[in-house]
C-alpha cells in the first residue's frame, strides 16, 4: 500500500487510489466540480489542483494516481493561487444570476466562489450566452450557466445507459446538449439535476418554488416501486415540494427514479380530504362518525364469508396489519394484498423476495431475466445491472417480449416454454447458467401474476436449484416486485386464510353477489367493474378507480403523511416518516382502522403507533431488523403443473402512471404524453 504525505500527515491508501480519494480518506477536503465518485473520471474542471512536490506544475488530484513517497500540499500558496485562477476563468462566462437561479443556496460553484472567487472580475468583454435548450418536461436547462464539467454527459452514457448528451462544438462555442432537439428519455434523468454542480440543470416542475434553506427535511422511503429507495422529503408549510434521494449503498446508491422524484405534485391533486358517502348514486360529503357508523354497520351485518378486503400497492405494513386484524376479528379470511393477481405463496418468503439483495448484483456474472423489464419496473436496480455489465465479464439472457434494455441481453424467447426447456435441460443457455460462478435469476412480478403463476414459480425454483443459483454463500433466485407494499403484505400474511377467497375469488364473488362488502385499502389497480353490486368501502388518499366505485370513502394518508413501515423487494424493512400532515380531515390509515374497529365493537388492542409496532413485532419478529435484510431460508415452492403457451407480458404500460399518486400528477401526465415510447393521446389530467 503506497504511503504518501498530505499536508504534513502521512497517509496510507490502497494502490490505485487517486490523490483526491487519499485526501478524502484523510479527511481533507479538496474542491472539485467534475469529479464524482460514481462517475468516470474526466479531469476537466481543474478545480481540484493541488501542489505535488517535484511536479513541475499543480496536478489535478482527481485524476492523479497516488505513488509511494508522494508529498502533496492541498492548501499551499501555489495550490490556492491555481484554484483562484481556475475560479476566475469559470466565472468569466458564468452568469452572476444567483438571485434568480434555483440552484442558489445549494450550488457548488457558489460555495467554492466564496472560498476562491475574487470580489470583482477583471473581464471586460461580453459574456457568452447559449441558446435555450429543451430537455423535456422534467429537466430545465439553462445552459448559459454550464461550466462544462460533463457530469451529466457521463451519467447519461454510463449510469442511465441512454447516450443522448454530449459536448458539441469547441472552445468558447462548446455546448453541452443533445445537439438535435430532443427530450431526455431515461427513467433516471432527474439525477442529473442532483449531479449538476451549478444551476444549468434544475428541476422543471420545482422551478422557482422554494429556496433550499426554507425547506424542512424528512428522511423517508419511496413507494412508487418496490426498490425502497431512500429519499428525503423537502417540505415547506403543509406541502412536500420536492423529493431527493439519500445515499444507501445497499439499495439505491444515490439514485432515484424519475417517478419517485417527480410524483410529488400528485400529492396535492385529487386528494380525498374528507369522508364521503354515496347517496342516490352520488358521493356526498359526510362526517367521520357517519361514515364509520355506516361502514361498521355494513361490515358487521354481513356474514364473515361475505366480506372481503384488498390491500393496494402503496400501503404501509401497519395499516395492512390493522385491516387484517379487523377482518380476522369479524371472522373473515377473504384477504389479498396481491391486486395484480399474483399467485405468490406467502408461506415461503424466499419465493417472493430478491434473495441476493440488490448489492448482490455486483457479484453476479450471469443474469436471466424472466418476464421482467427492470428498466420500467425498477429503474434503480436496472442501473445497478448496467453498472455490473460495464464492469465486464457479464452475460444477460431474457425471456419475454423485446424491450429497450440499457445493457445487452440475449433474447431466449418470449414465453414459459423456454423456461421449461431450460429446466428439462434442452436449451443452450443452461450451460451458460451452469458455468457461471454466481448465476442470478430475476423473475418479474408479472411472470407470477398469471393463471399458471405457481407452475412458473415451480419451474424457476427447479431451475435455480439445477444451475446452482442457491448455495450456502449465494442465493441468486430473485423476484423483482414492483409494489412497495407487496413483500410487507406477504410477510404479515395478508393473503386468504383457510377457505378464504383470493383476489379472483373476491371479485368473482362480488360480481355474483356472494361477497356483499369489499374493503379496499388503497387498492385501485384491478378492474373495479368486477365488484358488481358489492358495497365498497374505500380507504385511501387519492380519488382514483377505487374511490370512484366506492360507496363509502374514508380518507387516509399518503406515504409522505404518515409514519409507516415498508419492506422492499429484498425483504429489507425500512421506515417511512411523516413530513406533512394529511390534508383536511384525512387521518393516518391505522387510526382509521382503529376507529372502525371501535365502531364494530371489536376494538384493536392498540391506541398508538408504538403500541401497534410493539404488537407487530410480537407477531412478526423480522420487523425488528430495520434497514437490514433478514436472512431467509431456502425452501421449495411453486406447484408443478402445466404452463400455458402465452408469452410473458410486462405489467407496466406507461412507466409514468402506475399508481394513484402518479396518475394524479400533472408532471407525470406530461411525461406520459411526451416521453413514453408509445405516447398516449392527451388526457383530461394533462396540464
Amino acid at each position: 500500500m503506497p504511503k504518501l504525505t498530505i499536508n504534513g500527515t502521512e497517509v496510507e491508501v490502497p494502490p490505485g487510489y487517486t490523490i483526491l480519494q487519499a485526501c478524502n480518506q484523510a479527511g481533507i477536503e479538496v474542491p472539485h466540480f467534475c469529479f464524482h465518485q460514481r462517475l468516470a473520471i474526466a479531469g476537466n474542471c481543474r478545480m481540484c489542483l493541488v501542489e505535488q512536490e517535484k511536479a513541475p506544475k499543480p496536478v489535478a488530484s482527481c485524476a492523479m494516481p497516488v505513488a509511494d513517497g508522494m508529498v502533496v500540499h492541498t492548501n499551499s500558496p501555489l495550490a490556492q493561487k491555481a484554484r483562484k485562477g481556475v475560479m476566475e476563468f469559470l466565472l468569466i462566462n458564468h452568469p452572476l444570476d444567483c438571485p434568480i437561479c434555483d440552484q442558489g443556496g445549494e450550488c457548488d460553484l457558489q460555495d467554492e466562489a466564496m472560498a476562491y472567487g475574487k470580489d470583482r472580475g477583471r473581464y471586460q468583454e461580453a459574456k457568452r450566452a447559449v441558446r435555450a435548450k429543451d430537455f423535456g418536461p422534467l429537466v430545465k436547462a439553462t445552459m448559459t450557466r454550464c461550466i462544462h464539467c460533463t457530469r451529466c454527459i457521463r451519467f447519461a452514457a454510463d449510469v442511465a445507459g441512454v447516450p443522448d448528451l454530449g459536448g458539441t462544438g469547441r472552445g468558447e462555442n462548446m455546448e453541452v446538449g443533445t445537439y438535435v432537439e430532443k427530450a431526455l428519455t431515461s427513467e433516471l434523468s432527474g439525477n442529473m439535476i442532483d449531479l449538476c454542480p451549478v444551476g444549468a440543470l434544475t428541476s422543471k416542475p420545482y422551478a422557482f418554488e422554494a429556496r433550499a434553506w426554507e425547506l424542512r427535511k424528512t428522511e423517508s422511503i419511496d413507494v412508487v416501486d418496490a426498490v425502497g429507495t431512500n429519499i428525503r422529503l423537502d417540505a415547506r408549510g403543509q406541502a412536500v415540494l420536492r423529493i431527493l434521494p439519500r445515499v444507501n449503498e445497499d439499495v439505491n446508491e444515490e439514485w432515484l427514479s424519475d417517478k419517485g422524484r417527480f410524483v410529488v405534485d400528485g400529492l396535492l391533486k385529487r386528494r380525498l380530504d374528507r369522508p364521503y358517502i354515496r347517496r342516490n348514486g352520488k358521493l356526498v360529503e359526510a362526517s367521520w362518525p357517519e361514515a364509520l357508523t355506516i361502514a361498521a354497520e355494513r361490515l358487521g351485518k354481513a356474514s364473515a364469508d361475505r366480506i372481503a378486503a384488498i390491500a393496494g400497492d402503496l400501503c404501509d405494513v401497519e395499516s395492512m396489519l390493522a385491516l387484517k386484524e379487523v377482518m380476522t376479528s369479524l371472522g373473515s379470511t377473504n384477504l389479498d394484498c396481491r391486486q395484480d393477481g399474483a399467485k405468490t405463496p406467502a408461506a415461503v418468503r424466499s419465493s417472493y423476495i430478491f434473495n441476493s439483495a440488490i448489492a448482490g448484483i455486483d457479484k453476479a456474472d450471469v443474469v436471466l431475466l424472466i418476464g421482467t423489464n427492470p428498466r420500467q419496473e425498477a429503474p434503480v436496480i436496472n442501473a445497478r445491472l448496467r453498472k455490473r455489465y460495464l464492469k465486464g465479464g457479464f452475460k444477460a439472457g431474457q425471456i419475454g417480449p423485446f424491450f429497450d434494455s440499457t445493457f445487452p441481453v440475449t433474447a431466449l424467447g418470449e414465453g414459459p416454454a423456454v423456461l421449461q426447456a431450460l429446466v428439462e435441460g434442452n436449451h443452450a443457455w443452461l450451460d451458460v447458467l451452469k458455468s457461471a460462478q454466481n448465476p442470478m435469476i430475476i423473475m418479474g412480478s408479472g411472470a407470477v401474476a398469471r393463471a399458471d403463476g405457481l407452475a412458473i414459480l415451480d419451474l424457476a425454483c427447479r431451475l435455480a436449484d439445477a444451475v446452482g443459483a442457491v448455495r450456502e454463500d449465494w442465493n441468486g433466485f430473485n423476484v423483482l416486485q414492483r409494489a412497495a407494499s407487496r413483500v410487507g403484505g406477504l410477510d404479515i400474511g395478508f393473503v386468504p386464510g383457510p377457505g378464504g377467497r383470493d383476489l379472483d375469488g373476491i371479485l368473482d364473488g362480488a360480481s355474483k353477489g356472494e361477497v356483499e362488502v369489499v374493503y379496499l385499502l388503497g387498492a385501485d389497480e384491478f378492474d373495479v367493474s368486477r365488484l358488481g353490486n358489492a358495497f365498497v368501502i374505500y380507504q385511501g388518499h387519492h380519488g382514483d378507480a377505487g374511490a370512484g366505485r366506492a360507496d363509502i370513502v374514508l380518507p387516509g394518508a399518503a406515504y409522505t403523511e404518515k409514519n409507516g413501515t415498508y419492506v422492499n423487494t429484498e425483504g429489507r424493512v425500512q421506515l417511512g416518516r411523516l413530513a406533512v400532515y394529511p390534508p383536511g380531515e384525512a387521518k393516518e390509515d391505522w387510526r382509521v382502522l382503529r376507529a372502525l374497529s371501535e365502531h364494530l365493537g371489536r376494538a384493536l388492542p392498540y391506541d398508538s403507533l408504538p403500541q401497534l409496532r410493539q404488537h407487530m413485532l410480537s407477531l412478526f419478529p423480522l420487523f425488528a431488523q430495520v434497514d437490514d435484510v433478514v436472512a431467509t431460508a431456502w425452501q421449495d415452492f411453486g406447484v408443478q403443473g402445466p404452463v400455458s403457451g402465452a408469452d410473458f407480458a410486462y405489467p407496466i404500460d406507461t412507466y409514468y402512471m402506475t399508481d394513484p399518486i402518479s396518475r394524479a400528477s400533472p408532471t407525470m401526465a406530461e411525461c406520459a404524453v411526451s416521453l413514453a415510447p408509445n405516447p398516449l393521446s392527451k388526457t383530461g389530467t394533462h396540464g
Binding site: 441558446r131 447516450p163 443522448d164 454530449g166 458539441t168 462544438g169 445537439y179 438535435v180
Partner: protein
C-alpha cells in the same frame, strides 16, 4: 462551420448512404483499426461523407456513420462539431478558405480577404446569392512559406495579393480552373527569383566553398 447556423435550422436531407464505391473505401478504413475500435474510423468516414455530399456533412450522414461504427449518434456529432474542417451546412461549389494566421496576415492576408469580400459581396461564413461561393476564415493551412494562401476546395493558391485574388475569382467565376500553387514566378516553395543558397558551392576544391 458549425451546424448551428445562428439558430436557424439547416435544411437537412432525409437520408444519406455511401455510394457502393465509398462503402468499399469505408470498409477499408475501418479495417485499419483493431477489432472493437472501429469508432476510430469516425474522422476519415466523416471526411468521406463530406466529399460525397457536396462538401458538407448532413445530419443523416452523421447518423449513418454512427450506425456503421456502432456509436451513439451524439458521439459522432461531438466529433463533427469539434473539427472546423467539417461543414455542417451547405456551402458553395467554390469553397474559399482564407488563411489569416500570423504568417499569412503579416504577408497581406487582409488584402486577400478584402478582395474576396468586395468581389463576392459577402462576408466570412456567408454564401453568395447565386450559391456558388462561400468564404470562411481558417487557421494555418500549412503553406506559410507561400503566404498568403487561399484554398479553393482542395487546391491552394499561394503568394496572393489583392489584384491576383480578384483575377483568380474572375477566372473561377468564368468556370476556369487556374493552375494551383504560387501565383507569382516561383517554383513551388523555392525562393523567389531563383536559388539563393548553394549557388557558389563547388566540389572541385576551388572557389570559396564554406
Amino acid at each position: 462551420m458549425s451546424g448551428d447556423n445562428g439558430g436557424n435550422p439547416v435544411e437537412q436531407p432525409a437520408s444519406f448512404e455511401f455510394t457502393p464505391e465509398n462503402i468499399a473505401r469505408a470498409r477499408a478504413l475501418i479495417a485499419k483499426y483493431p477489432e472493437g475500435r472501429q469508432a476510430s474510423a469516425v474522422l476519415p468516414l466523416l471526411y468521406l461523407a463530406q466529399e460525397q455530399h457536396e462538401n458538407w456533412v448532413p445530419r443523416a450522414a452523421m447518423d449513418y456513420i454512427g450506425a456503421m461504427l456502432d456509436m451513439a449518434p451524439i458521439r459522432v456529432y461531438e466529433v463533427a462539431t469539434f473539427y472546423t474542417m467539417f461543414n455542417l451546412r451547405p456551402v458553395g461549389p467554390y469553397f474559399l478558405q482564407v488563411c489569416t494566421t500570423t504568417p499569412c496576415w503579416l504577408r497581406g492576408s487582409d488584402a486577400v480577404l478584402d478582395a474576396c469580400r468586395s468581389k463576392l459581396g459577402i462576408d466570412i461564413d456567408e454564401r453568395t446569392a447565386d450559391g456558388r461561393f462561400t468564404i470562411v476564415e481558417v487557421e494555418c493551412l500549412g503553406a506559410c512559406v507561400n503566404a498568403p494562401v487561399l484554398r479553393v476546395n482542395d487546391d491552394n493558391y499561394e503568394d496572393l495579393d489583392g489584384p491576383r485574388t480578384l483575377a483568380l475569382l474572375d477566372a473561377l467565376a468564368r468556370g476556369e480552373k487556374p493552375p494551383r500553387g504560387p501565383t507569382i514566378e516561383r517554383q513551388n516553395a523555392a525562393p523567389v527569383g531563383g536559388p539563393t543558397t548553394l549557388t557558389t558551392l563547388r566540389f572541385d576544391g576551388g572557389g570559396d566553398a564554406a
